[in-house]
């Protein structure tokens, strides 16, 4: 019996995994077709009206546009898997070089934000649920509702105005490079990390609160209360283990959101990350770079969502026993 149960979890996880891979495959196809569907010739569109027939032809060859689409798709995808992302149209450099350290920077910023946001949000969410409908809860709920309604850049500029212009504690431009020490890097990313933290924390806190309240209203908690157990014991030993699954899910989903939310924050703080590169390349219409960074963002996002899915299957007894 136990073995069968284990097996069905594996089946579920395998199912999610294959769905994730399939999604990624279809996304890559969409990204590729999107460029294909460009009205007129891609080479002409980039080079403009004034280009001679010879330059257009040379450009087409350089981009392998003279080969059939199916062949090009697979050579693009094949190259991608092996780490060869092609070359940028704007400056002719290999895209892998451009993306590598920027992706590291983005992950660095996102993980610092996550390290601050996750514990704070979970603790505050639990506290808000425990003392719900008190003054504390209402203030927290109003604040988090406003945070969700604020655009990221509003938060960012308020922080800049306060900590960078008025108090001059932190730089308003988060320029980092590889020579900088870890502490210097940390100092540079304080404000962007704080912005991200505030944005993502509000979501996480509200969802954690909702998840805990949901658990607290279930019969077994009422039973524990009726038995006269003290409040702390009920929350820590009875409610929390059951709330773990939704809370883990909330965290993972918000981390996925964080990776995307980073785009705007990077632009505000001129932080050399993947998001900034993506936005720059979109306005320059540097399509190969857009494709590559878009696919990396998508893969990260899908991966984090997949982890959320799998963790919630593993930690939820009801999902462990599918119908």
């Amino acid at each position: 019996m136990d073995f069968l149960k284990q097996n069905s979890i594996f089946a579920l996880v395998a199912q999610r995994l294959s769905f994730g891979l399939l999604t990624l495959f279809i996304i890559s196809l969409l990204i590729f077709i999107g460029v294909e569907a460009l009205p007129g010739d891609f080479a002409e569109a980039i080079l403009g009206q004034s280009a001679t027939a010879e330059t257009v032809e040379a450009f087409r060859q350089e981009l392998n546009l003279d080969q059939p689409p199916v062949q090009r798709y697979f050579s693009w995808l094949g190259g991608f898997v092996q780490g060869d992302l092609g070359t940028s149209l704007a400056n002719g450099r290999p895209i892998a070089d451009l993306l590598g350290w920027r992706f590291k920077n983005t992950i660095f910023l996102a993980s610092i934000a996550a390290l601050i946001a996750v514990p704070l949000a979970v603790i505050m969410g639990i506290a808000a649920a425990l003392y719900r409908n008190t003054f504390f809860d209402k203030v927290l709920s109003m604040t988090s509702l406003s945070m969700i309604s604020f655009p990221e850049f509003f938060m960012a500029y308020i922080l800049i105005a306060l900590f960078s212009v008025k108090l001059a504690w932190f730089p308003s431009i988060a320029n980092i490079n590889e020579q900088m020490s870890f502490a210097a890097k940390l100092n540079a990313v304080v404000l962007p990390a704080l912005t991200l933290t505030l944005v993502v924390m509000a979501h996480m806190m509200r969802q954690t609160r909702a998840a805990i309240i949901n658990i607290l209203s279930s019969p077994f908690i009422e039973m524990a209360n009726l038995k006269g157990l003290n409040r702390l014991r009920v929350v820590v030993l009875h409610a929390f283990p059951n709330a773990l699954s939704p809370v883990i899910n909330v965290i993972a989903l918000n981390l996925a959101y964080l990776v995307v939310g980073v785009v705007i924050v990077e632009v505000v703080f001129v932080y050399p990350g993947l998001g900034q590169l993506l936005v720059d390349s979109v306005s320059k219409r540097d399509i190969p770079v857009v494709q590559a960074s878009g696919l990396i963002f998508a893969a990260t996002y899908i991966l984090l969502n997949l982890i959320a899915d799998i963790l919630s299957i593993i930690s939820n007894p009801r999902l462990r026993n599918p119908r």
Binding site: I26, I27, L145, P151, F154, I160, V260, V282, A298, N305
Partner: protein, 275 residues
Amino acid sequence: MITLLSHLRTAPLSAKIGMGMVLITLIAAIFAPLIAPFGETEIAGDVWLFSSSTHFLGTDSLGRDMFSRLVYGARNTIAIAFLITFLSFVFGVTLGFVAATIGGWVDQLLSRMIDILMAFPTLIFALMVLSVVGTSIPALIIVIALLDSTRVFRLSRAVAMDIEVMEYVEAARLRGEKLWWIMRHEILPNAMPPLVAEFGLRFCFVFLFIAALSFLGLGIQPPAADWGGMVRENAGAITFGIFTPLWPAAAIAFLTVGVNLIVDWALHVASGLKD
């Protein structure tokens, strides 16, 4: 109408504040030419003036009156966001209802397609699509409406699923009513409360989304006044201690907080009605 008004009177304070905030923004948007002291793109003074009696909120990076641009910006941004949300509901609700009422392979196909689209971060998707089709207003509207309709689809499908098993839908089916009639006359009226609340939420999301795109320079293009774009144009001022870019950003926050306060209450009412 009378029930709606009495409903409004029972609204909690927070929802009333929200309505006030939305109303102020709407009045600014509708009567923009009457309220704004200067034209939308009129150069009215020096660059980045502080607020004064002639320039209520100072001037922007090109010397245009900030208050006037804020008022006109309300018009452009809200109109486009509303149009997108409306379109997204037309797509999403229609497809969601179709999936729920027909069921079977149609439902499977639609749901799986939407699953895949939703597995992709919206902002990244929009950026990629816009890099290919270019940033014209029609392209912006259709791309965001389509991306956003995936969320509407999920909700309207789930709501319609619950309604679809009711006796009155069964009765309508046995009467021989057509699919479209059932969707229009049986399912839609009963699905209204959650859909209305969702409309507010989606509007906020779309509004913030356009603001973000304009802020990135890929949304509504200058010289048209648009709140996100205005933040971008004036962003450089902040490091000199001039807080001009905070005004349009605050305006965005003002409207979304207002809508969210109403939505919070609407969601409460909608869930109460279901019980």
